[in-house]
């Protein structure tokens, strides 16, 4: 992996950190607000189903988590486990795809 790509990964992790700072805050405030009248699946789904704006928000959230988290895992794998190179990169891409698939599946389940 070239130093230029490594630099871009670093920038991508910082940029997604900014996105996550906003997303986590909105997410937590929404949770606190939404459970005022008790917590039930029917109430949550009634609020979320078909809501395009919230669906788009959570798609952005999931994508930011995948980018930010997997770049972080890459550093942890290299520094703590000495796991780097093509095998590590393939593993991390696999983790990214799995994480993205699970996250988007949850978005579809709640908003579709």
């Amino acid at each position: 992996m070239s130093a230029r790509l490594q630099t871009r990964l670093w920038v991508a992790q910082r940029a997604t950190a900014v996105v996550l700072a906003v997303c986590v805050l909105v997410h937590l405030v929404t949770i606190v607000y939404a459970v005022r009248g008790g917590l039930s699946a029917a109430e949550i789904l009634g609020r979320t189903r078909g809501n395009v704006a919230w669906a788009a928000f959570y798609v952005v959230f999931v994508v930011a988590i995948v980018i930010h988290g997997v770049i972080g895992l890459r550093t942890i794998a290299a520094e703590w486990l000495r796991f780097h190179g093509p095998a590590a990169e393939a593993t991390l891409i696999g983790i990214a795809l799995a994480l993205g698939a699970m996250g988007l599946r949850a978005v579809v389940a709640v908003f579709a």
């Binding site: 130093a3 790509l5 490594q6 630099t7 871009r8 670093w10 920038v11 520094e79 703590w80």
Partner: protein, 238 residues
Amino acid sequence: MEVKVWRGGAEGGRFQSFEVPRQPSQTVLDVVTYVQRHLDPTLSYRFACRVGMCGSCAMTVNGTPRWTCRTHVDKVVANDVLEVAPLANLPVVKDLVADMRAFFDKWARAKGEFKPTATKRDAFAIVKPGSAQRQEADAGIECIGCGVCYAACDVVAWNRDYLGPAALNRAWTLVNDVRDGARRARLEAVAGDAGCHSCHTLMSCTELCPKALSPTRSIAGLKRATALAAFSRSEEAQ
């Protein structure tokens, strides 16, 4: 006081205890010198100026890298025990002498040498001391290459390819030198996993630098400069 001194070579070693009398205003270098002159002449250690100018006497004192010549025993002794070992993160040559080659090779890898753009027929460059770039360069220029920051850095311990605080600080002073002509190549050399982007901003280098420099600040500057360079269209064509 009991003084535990690391004895051994590249293949390993152990601490050997000596009893050394306390003196007023005694430095750790005084203690090591006492051991060699009076107790065991086979002890190897490195020093030159004794006054904090040369940067050759850095060792690990009670677990922390320090200049031994400028460290008073009073300030570091714990329960009347002083433990002196060679600098961490570097191979040991013998006893308290660390092999500094990797440290200085990384200065070269970080393109730590000045590349002039003018010739002897050109006039002297005029650099305003108050200019922002010169102030950035001045903030890091007093490094004397003692290796304390390198020994203190956890990222160096985790990642043997990491250039380390001193080499990156040197690169940053040159990036801010308006007379220098190797900015682009230098920014490429200090980017990525082996370079500034691996710094976790732990700041051990800044805390322990005997010259009170902030390699962390220099590395942060390099992160910004290299990130901009990695996205710049003109440098993409290189």
